[in-house]
Symmetry: C2
Subunit: 335 residues, 2 copies
Amino acid sequence: MGAGFGRMVHVMAEVLIAGGAGFIGANLARRLVAAGHSVTVLDNFWSGRRANMAGMDVRLIEGDVREPIAGRYDWVFNLACPASPPRYQRDPVFTLTTSIDGMRQVLALARRCGARVVHASTSEIYGDPLMHPQTETYWGHVNPLGPRSCYDEGKRVAETLAMEARRAWGVDVRVARIFNTYGPFMDPADGRVVSNFIMQALHGEALTLYGEGRQTRGFQFVDDLLAGFMAYVAKPRAEVDAFFAAKGMALPVLNLGNPEEITVRELADEVLRLVPSGGGIVSRPLPKDDPHRRRPDIAWARDCLGWEPRVHLREGLSRTVAYFREGPAAGYMNA
Amino acid sequence: MGAGFGRMVHVMAEVLIAGGAGFIGANLARRLVAAGHSVTVLDNFWSGRRANMAGMDVRLIEGDVREPIAGRYDWVFNLACPASPPRYQRDPVFTLTTSIDGMRQVLALARRCGARVVHASTSEIYGDPLMHPQTETYWGHVNPLGPRSCYDEGKRVAETLAMEARRAWGVDVRVARIFNTYGPFMDPADGRVVSNFIMQALHGEALTLYGEGRQTRGFQFVDDLLAGFMAYVAKPRAEVDAFFAAKGMALPVLNLGNPEEITVRELADEVLRLVPSGGGIVSRPLPKDDPHRRRPDIAWARDCLGWEPRVHLREGLSRTVAYFREGPAAGYMNA
């Protein structure tokens, strides 16, 4: 846990989580409630799931982040946007407008009531990077006219909107660029590798490896991300502003991800160790649109928040498997 | 003039020009009227100028492209966005929303009435390019969080919106990425090098060179751009679609610019040849945010439209000087 977190527990904040019924939002809501905060979830259940809300002691607003948001909050987390490629490609115009208009409505709310905003951006804004690892100053290498553009370009312009709202209206908005994250409350059907492997193993099916699984990836356990969020949102504005002014940045932006890389083959082996499956592993050819390799430089998050990932893959996977076995219906609580 | 232009003159089209009171729009409106089309100009006069409308035989709608657009049109040219850095940086949120919501309203109009759209994008979407010259397949190198981002990122996501509207609703939208252009109806105060030099010379002042003027630039005379526009808008959809499908592009995109480069020093000398000024030339240090060098690859525009720039710098400058001497009040008509 970051240095800022210790201060945070002494205040009770009124918090809005836009997209709070999604994977990260459902974890964050539980963490905030456990820390004694008053939490409101705004979700339209486009990709968020009602099952994720089970047993949550929060207010629920069923609505669209693209519409004006009522109320007064101390903190707003903007997590509202489908994030898995098959999901966000199902309705690219929805994805684009959720990124753009959602950001605008969150910024308008913050401008009106003085809320502090933590905006969930993404490593996807770096596209297919030509620099490794990626620092926050890297401009990225993004295709404006490809199958991923509705997500990538929408998320990029949301950051630009945040910067301009900060400049024009003094909105206290802080951007987290989230890298590959896994954990409880993931949607088993959203098509990403960790949930795919666990579901295949639990069903006794073979784990599908593409291109022999030699590609490397970093996997951040969701509790590590939450520790970063909590330290980020709790840090006083003057300190955040001073940190980023010294870096020459017009907007606070931090990478939050796990820089430790393993091969997809190693991930499959770890899953099979936890859930022995008769199916073993099958290999398929690498698809053309295989996700690009990205690895965060987390020096700034370390310096600014005293944060770094702590949860080892085996522990994170074991807790994720437990969730997938028992499911939200079993009243699973993320400890 | 492109091959397509010959076909176009036989039909009378109902045309909307969003941003029709700006530099390029005022030229385009005159060209379309001269070709027998029925022209409506939509402008909010934020950077467009009332003086540019003088003597124009068009319908004028004073309004904002970010609001729903009534009416039925055959062709819509979307030129609505401030384009010179000091202008677009004056209100970055306005610039961003004009790019984004303007594009959305134009696409919604086209979806409703079946109009063909030519959207004015920009070489700025290539940012500070790492590839020279720039082809339409180049992804660009753009800072999402800099002083130019409100323009660059807004214009990039407008292209993404256009691509998705074409995919989802079949909107016939064609993107032109416009490079550095000059000519009559430029705003003398908009801060770009051609108008700066001409105004300085006409006032008998010294021409201001930055960094000794050794940087190179391409300058496209506006009539060349218009010829590209006319060929582009007149080309049958099936031919455009076939051309870009063969290129693997999800959206028709053409660079329109002059690939011939001269130094800024040579430009100054040309201006002084036309308008001898006692002031001569003064040198100043190169500012930090000097515009990046960009040069269009126009092979696609040549192949698709039979188009290339024809007007020599001396001729273009001489016609621009004539406009700046006489002004729109003198009833200048772009021949």
